[in-house]
Amino acid sequence: MKKSSVKKHKARELDLLAIMNLFSILVTVTISMATFEKLGILDLWLPERGPAVADQQEQPDPGLLNLTVIVTNKGITIGAAGGFQPTTYYQEEVEYRSRSDQNVFRKIWIAGEQVKSPTDGKVMSPQERENIMLNVLSKKDSSDAGTFVYGVLNLEGDYLMDTAGVWLTQIPQVGALYQVVGGETMRKMDPVTQSYMKVEKLSAYQEIARTLWQIHKLYGQRDPLPADVDDIVILADGQIIYDKVIQLMDAAKAAGFDRVSLSLIGGEA
C-alpha cells in the first residue's frame, strides 16, 4: 500500500494555501496600521520662571557665552558675549510642487511676487512650497550683489568638509578623508557613496551648523565646563516663516546645542 502511493505521487507539493491565507491577512492588517509619514517632536528648552529676587544685583556672568543666532529675511548672524560673527547672507530659493498637476519647479523667492506654475499657469499658494532652500551668498558688504558658494552634497543632505573643516568644492577622490557637521569621526570615500555625490549651492543652514559646531567643540573644552555649554537662543524676526526657525533649531541641535530657546526680535517671548 505504502509503496504504491509513493510511486503515484513522486514529488508531492506542499500545501501552501493555508500559509497564503495567513499571509494575506497579515499583509492587510499591517498595511492598515502603517503610517508612511513619520511624525516627530522637537523639544524646546525654556528657562524656568522662578520667583523674582529683589536684592540680587543684575551682574551678568562674564564667563558665559550667551550664544545667539539672529535670523532676518536677508541673513543669519551668530552673536555671543564677545561680539558678532560676519553675517551669512542668503538667497531664498523655493521648490514648488503644484497641487493641480504635481509639477515640481524651483523659483527664487521675491517678497510679494505671485508665482505661477510653468505648466498650467495656476497661482501657487504658500502651502505648495515644498522645500525652502537658503543659498549662501558671498558678499563683501551688504550692498554687494554677491556670488554663490558651492559645496558637495551627499545623499543624506549633508555638505562635505575636508579634514580641516573647510567646505569641499569638488567631489573627493575614492579613499580621501572627509567629515560632515556633527560627525564624530572622519569618513573615507568609497565608490558607491561617491556616485551619489553632487555639487550644489551651499545651504545657509549648513554654514551656520558648521560654525556652531566649531564653537561648540571649542567651548566644550573649557575647564570647568561653563553652565551654558549646550545653550543657544534663536532670535528671529516676526515675519520669518516658521520653517526657517525649525531648520535653524535642527542646525543647532546637529552642532551639539541641545538646549534651544526661541526669542522674537524686539519682543519678549
Partner: protein, 161 residues
Amino acid sequence: MKRNIKRQEHAGLIITALIDIFVIVLVFLLRTVSAEGNLMTSADNLVLPMSTMAKSPTEVSLTIIGDDKSISVDGHQLVMTPDVMKQDSLLIKPILDVLVKKRAEEKKAEVLGIIKESTGKVVVQFDKNTPYDIVTKVMATAGYAGYNNIKFAVTRRNEEG
C-alpha cells in the same frame, strides 16, 4: 501535448513565487510599522516642517494646531489666524481662557491621583509657512497659562525606526 495533460491529473497551483513576494512585502511592512502605534496624528491641510533631529513623539495631553486660516486647541477652532497677526498683544485671549481652564483641570486631576504628574506638556503643530510672529504669540500664551513644556511637531526626514 494531449499526453501531458493526461499524465498530470492534479496540476496544483504553483504558489511558491507568490509566497516569496508576500514574505518580502510583509518584511518591508513590519519594518515600517512602528510598534508603538500613532501617538500623534498630523492635522489635515497642514505641511509640517521637516527635521532630522526630531525625537519620537511622547504622550501629550494637549495639541494646538495652527494653519493659515485658524488656530485650534484640541480640535476646537478658537481664533482666526489673520486676527492674531493683526493684534499687538502677545497673549491671545480666546486661547488663553481655554488653556488656563485646561491647566487647572490637569492640576486638579493630579491632586486627585487620576494622572501621575501634570507636566504641562503641549505639542504645537504649525504649517511651515506660518509667520514666526504667530508662533511666538501662541508660545507666549501657552507659557502664560502654565504650559511650559512646549514641543514642535515635525515630519522626520531620513530616519530609521
